[in-house]
Symmetry: C2
């Protein structure tokens, strides 16, 4: 593998930057004039031919300029990109967006997706806090009708999960209240991950066989906690923004992408990939996922946290050609602000005054 010289990198960078701006293949003349006035277009041409041989650039046809390949883009993202610094004005705009919210965490998350999609002029996506990461606050059982119990699970963050479970006996509301009281008592201050484990564990023990109340409580609770794969655990916002990108003028392409959005499971998988990652912004290029449907888009994302615990993911989805230097710091900062809000929800109110 040949090392790129300083000059090669500079030219590669110029091509990527210009391509990101214009969306069109960039020729040697453009690079020479706009980015490297000390070199002639002929020289640039030679270098670009080399870069093409090395797989960083690609030529749509003989007499066209060059377009970065996935490899070229990735190299740019890793080593060449100069992230813009976020201006005070933008930082304020992001913070201010949260000021007049009165509702709970859901509202904050929804607002976040709006902020991101507006500021970046692309689609934005927000993955909800994972159940396992948040703390248990309260459980409530409501008998709706025969054999059917509505379970309402409240996380410490204020997020509410509810679920209708069936139980093979019909339990009166009075007894359900006892069960929930019991559970509220013993599950206090655990994370939902711990809750789940504990329940699975204790159901194995003999005690379950003899203590009916205990047994029922555990059974219902277990059902309440079952992850429903279909559940919409994410917001997508600003899909219409995607239409502003010239690369999506092609209807067929657009259709593929919108369909991918409707079936949220694929996106979930994508976002899950970034959940485990370390701090900071991550960029996933569509082709890297090897998922046909996401081939033409890319994701700029970051996790948000409460203290050290990763809760979820926020990100921006757009075409592979995105204005990364602008978007990366926005996602970064938004995720930070969101983490602060998660840490201390009362902030929101005090900052209003």
């Amino acid at each position: 593998m040949v090392e790129l010289s300083q000059r090669d990198k500079k030219i590669l960078k110029a091509v990527v930057v210009d391509y990101i701006k214009s969306g069109e293949p960039v020729g040697s003349r453009t690079v020479s004039k706009k980015y490297m006035t000390n070199l002639s277009s002929a020289t640039i041409r030679n270098v670009m031919a080399d870069l093409e041989d090395l797989g960083y650039l690609y030529q749509p046809h003989t007499s066209a300029g060059r377009v970065p390949t996935e490899k070229g883009l990735r190299f740019y993202l890793e080593s060449l990109m100069e992230i813009e610094k976020l201006g005070k004005r933008e930082r304020d705009a992001i913070r201010r967006a949260y000021l007049d919210l009165t509702g709970g965490v859901e509202e904050i998350l929804k607002k976040t997706s709006q902020v991101l999609s507006n500021l970046c002029s692309q689609a934005a996506v927000v993955l909800w806090p994972r159940l396992t990461a948040t703390k248990f606050k309260r459980i409530e059982f409501v008998r709706l009708y025969r054999n059917h119990v509505l379970t309402i699970l409240v996380a410490e963050s204020g997020i509410v999960h509810h679920r209708l479970v069936t139980y093979d006996e019909d339990i009166a509301q009075e007894e359900l209240d006892k069960l929930s009281n019991y559970l509220n008592d013993i599950l206090k201050d655990m994370t939902l991950g711990e809750v789940k484990n504990r329940i699975l564990e204790e159901m194995k023990e003999e005690k379950a066989l003899f203590d009916q109340i205990y047994n029922r409580a555990m059974q219902i609770m277990k059902k309440a906690l079952q992850e429903k794969a279909e559940e919409a655990e994410l917001y997508i916002e600003g899909q219409a923004n995607l239409l502003d990108n010239p690369e999506f003028a092609d209807i067929e392409r657009l259709k593929r992408i919108l369909r991918a959005f409707e079936d949220k499971s694929r996106l979930l998988k994508l976002l899950d990939m970034t959940l485990g990652s370390s701090e900071g912004v991550q960029i996933i290029l569509g082709p890297e996922t090897e998922t046909q449907e996401l081939n033409e888009i890319s994701l700029v994302s970051s996790t948000y946290r409460k203290g050290e615990v990763v809760l979820g993911v926020v990100g921006v989805i757009g075409p592979i050609r995105m204005d990364y230097p602008k978007i990366v710091p926005i996602v970064d900062y938004t995720a930070q602000v969101l983490s602060e809000l998660m840490e201390n929800p009362e902030n929101m109110d005090t900052s209003r005054s």
Copy 2:
């Protein structure tokens, strides 16, 4: 206003039907050949010219065929359309879709939007049961942090509304439990509309000034019931289906429509219009709403009910040129099935066996 002769109507109908099928202006020759073999194209031409003068048809340019105007379409829908009968196969398909659902009403509604968008190959929309129409089942208060109470309202249908309210005093969880117990007691068996009225009414009375528990309960309950205008009270499904319509090949048009969908308030208003309507399917053509954003689409909708009480609306959204004879009965039947399910949720389980 001149009355249309039988023949005029037949020709108008032919134009509309053919236009709905093909999406292109239909000429006299086509009508003569495909729909009225007993008449020559010249005769048809004369009639069509008359229909144009009367405002039922419109000619994009001198040498093109005719396209129905809004007036023409409306006339067709009211008096000429022959609704197709829904085959047993389709009826079964709709019923079967609900069989394997385990969750509550939300899941049913979501499924409904999927069913409609699939069967009609357009976007589908489902308006949730209005708060006021459903019966109160239970209220729960959870203290999240200082001055912040999470209120959880369960309707008899199993729909859960939750909301974070602030209260100017910090109330301990023990007291909140008392308050909710009190409310659960006195609000039993009322509809949420009645609940709201009763609370507003009683807060005026003097009792509120003296009885602190009573007072607090009412205050918080009132806040919990406040309709949040922004709340997403509807599902939209199958937006990508719209891309299959040739009329939406134009990106600009598509953009306008997707933006209209993102701002749900406009759609809500549209659906509200049909809420008050009598039984059966209603069709609203975009231009009739006089809302710029909805100008190019139309809505086929029906209410769904529990007994005599109208709960919400289901519908199909597509281009003004839609296959109404096919879609109307689908919407109609789906709304019926949905009403049955609302009436008696246990149906779902029994039919599974």
